[in-house]
């Protein structure tokens, strides 16, 4: 790598990729893959749904719908007033569905970004500095790997009170372990590359190398695991809510299924069971397809020629 007179500044620019480079590239690639494109479209639909929820939803998620004669509209199949029918408590399924998308997005993206960020940091420091930092961080990751997610979450939630914050924290706790391992192995191979030596020779500090040289090169993997994290996060929140360990003040799709299941709605109220389940499946499947399209880009061996 050429060392032109100005030293650090100039050489740093030669290697450093713009942080915006990868997100834009990724979008392009994902769109080129059919399944990925479909996934992206659905994701956008969900995002729109989430934003428009307060405006479009006729009722709030926990509002009981009354008839003109003050009786409750319980367990009604889809009708003109309640597009997707009502629950056994008289709540509008359609509104619940719309509000549920907000939770999905919040949980999904929040935990995914935080989890991927944490995992990347751990991986970066662990892989780059090596020796005792690596040993310590990797032991912690090993332990995290050994803990079964769902049972652990169940126990923690039992001991504390069920809340969305706790759930998100738990999801983050589990997302970082996979990211950390992958990022670490990437860093291990990257740190021996010539451009790192060159940066060192130019006098760049360790932190600078880590964040400005190695960092951008592991970003694709961080994004990948972030994408995986979105679907995983939503799945786990749904699972926890379904089991009855979700935040009772929050109405997620999993929570809807929980109520439906406990009310025995599977036997007769398909309008209550299917919509949240389908939305959940679509959301998770879409993120999965996006993840896969993205994975094909960063790992050329997976590409379909």
């Amino acid at each position: 790598m050429e060392m032109s007179g100005a030293g650090r500044g100039k050489s740093a620019r030669v290697r450093k990729l713009s942080f915006l480079h990868w997100p834009l590239e990724s979008l392009k690639v994902i769109f080129q893959d059919t399944l990925g494109a479909i996934g992206l479209i659905f994701l956008v639909i969900f995002i729109v749904m989430a934003f428009l929820a307060p405006m479009v939803a006729p009722w709030g998620p926990f509002d009981v719908v009354f008839n003109p004669d003050k009786s409750v509209r319980r367990l009604l199949p889809p009708n003109p007033t309640n597009l997707l029918g009502t629950t056994n408590m008289g709540m509008d399924v359609f509104s619940q569905l719309l509000y549920g998308s907000r939770i999905a997005l919040v949980v999904g993206f929040f935990s995914a970004i935080a989890g991927a960020l944490l995992g990347t940091l751990v991986g970066l420091f662990s892989g780059y500095y090596g020796r005792w930092i690596d040993q310590v961080l990797m032991r912690i990751t090993d332990i995290a790997f050994g803990i079964p997610i769902l049972p652990f979450a169940l126990i923690i939630i039992s001991v504390t009170k069920p809340s969305l914050t706790i759930i998100i924290l738990l999801i983050i706790f589990f997302l970082w372990r996979t990211t950390a391992r992958v990022i670490r192995s990437q860093v291990l191979s990257l740190r021996e590359r010539p451009f790192v030596w060159a940066a060192k020779a130019a006098g760049a500090s360790d932190l600078k190398i880590l964040f400005f040289h190695i960092g951008p090169n592991v970003l694709p993997f961080s994004f990948l695991y972030m994408a995986i994290g979105v679907s995983a996060g939503v799945m786990y929140e749904a699972a926890l809510s379904f089991l009855g360990f979700g935040d009772p003040h929050v109405l997620s799709w999993g929570q809807m299924l929980n109520f439906a299941f406990n009310a025995g709605a599977m036997r007769n109220a398909w309008w209550w069971v299917l919509p949240p389940g389908l939305c959940l499946s679509l959301f998770v499947t879409s993120s999965f397809m996006i993840t896969r399209a993205y994975e094909q880009m960063i790992n050329p061996r997976l590409r379909e020629i």
Partner: protein
């Protein structure tokens, strides 16, 4: 010490260390998190005198480090004490549930692996064919769909609407028999069908996708040319290729089985299957902490053991791996 033995020893030490840490974490959590720290040993609904007596019985009045050591000892010898609600000692309860979970899991895993391997190998071999594309797309969809929703759908369709199959439980109600008798009965099979379908629909995708990509890699190998030049038939060549493609599957199966144990929770709830997953949920809801703790421990242990086995197997199966 040979490379192999050293490798095994290192992995074993790592395993024990991790188990130790996890147990300690649980101990600490229970003691120091907000919420009643003694809840795991004492049911808060007891009267004050009973609580005191219980505390003494459970050794809660002992200094912390004594409690810690005896806790570790108990876990090591699988002595889980007594349940708050059920008559049997926790160990018996939990082991029974563990067997039940295995009863649901084992058939699915075996079928998924065998069928998935064949389908995946053929898909990989016939690259670019309709078969391959169908396999891949279907697998992707099945893999990403949340299994508990598939379970609900399947129940709704086959059990409630069509009334072909039972809606839950492990065996027809009213048949109280030992584990092995139940497993070999027809009623059990009927109850097994739906959960197996749901489990398989998801789990078969793993081997399919894995074998396919593995096979694609093998297809590019040079030794296949020589095999063809030797005049071997297509079937013989596929056999050679598959043997090479199988390597990653072994570790995958070990790891996957470990993970299934905890994913079972949802399916067991939906199908009301009396397995260890359902047990931990009901135990936590009933505040039966000794049972919950024991369930968790066994689940963690299983996952770690399967990962350990996966590590070992990987070393054994591939003749190219050396341990230096």
């Amino acid at each position: 010490m040979t490379g192999l033995k050293k490798y095994i020893l290192m992995r074993l030490i790592s395993l024990v260390f991790v188990i130790f840490c996890i147990l300690s974490i649980i101990f600490v959590l229970v003691k120091f998190l907000p919420g009643d720290p003694t809840a795991i040993f004492v049911d808060s609904r007891f009267s004050p005198e009973m609580i005191d007596m219980q505390k003494k019985l459970w050794g809660l009045t002992d200094p912390l480090w004594v409690q810690y050591l005896s806790y570790l000892k108990n876990m090591a010898i699988f002595d889980f004490g007594r349940s708050f609600f059920q008559i049997q000692p926790v160990r018996e309860i939990v082991l029974e549930k563990l067997l039940n979970t295995c009863a649901m899991m084992v058939p699915s895993v075996i079928l998924s692996v065998v069928l998935g391997t064949i389908l995946g190998a053929v898909a990989g071999w016939k690259r670019g064919s309709k078969f391959e594309t169908t396999m891949v797309t279907t697998s992707l969809f099945l893999r990403s769909a949340p299994s508990f929703f598939v379970g609900i759908l399947v129940l709704m369709l086959f059990s409630y609407t069509l009334r072909w199959l039972p809606s839950g439980g492990m065996s027809p109600p009213g048949t109280a028999a030992g584990f092995w008798q139940t497993v070999f009965s027809v009623g059990f099979l009927k109850h097994l069908i739906l959960p197996t379908i749901v489990l398989m629909s998801r789990e078969i995708t793993g081997p399919i996708l894995l074998l396919r990509s593995s096979m694609l890699e093998v297809k590019g190998s040079d030794f296949l040319d020589i095999l063809r030049a030797k005049g071997l038939s297509e079937a013989q060549i596929i056999k050679h290729a598959t043997r090479n493609a199988l390597l990653p599957l072994v570790t995958y199966v070990a790891v996957m089985t470990g993970l299934l144990f905890q994913g079972q929770v949802l399916l067991e709830i939906i199908f009301a299957w009396p397995g260890i997953g359902r047990e931990i949920v009901t135990a936590l809801k009933d505040l039966d902490y000794p049972v919950a703790q024991a369930c968790f421990y066994l689940m963690a242990l299983t996952i770690l053991l399967m990962n350990f086995i996966a590590d070992l197997l990987y070393g054994f199966i591939d003749p190219r791996i050396t341990y230096n």
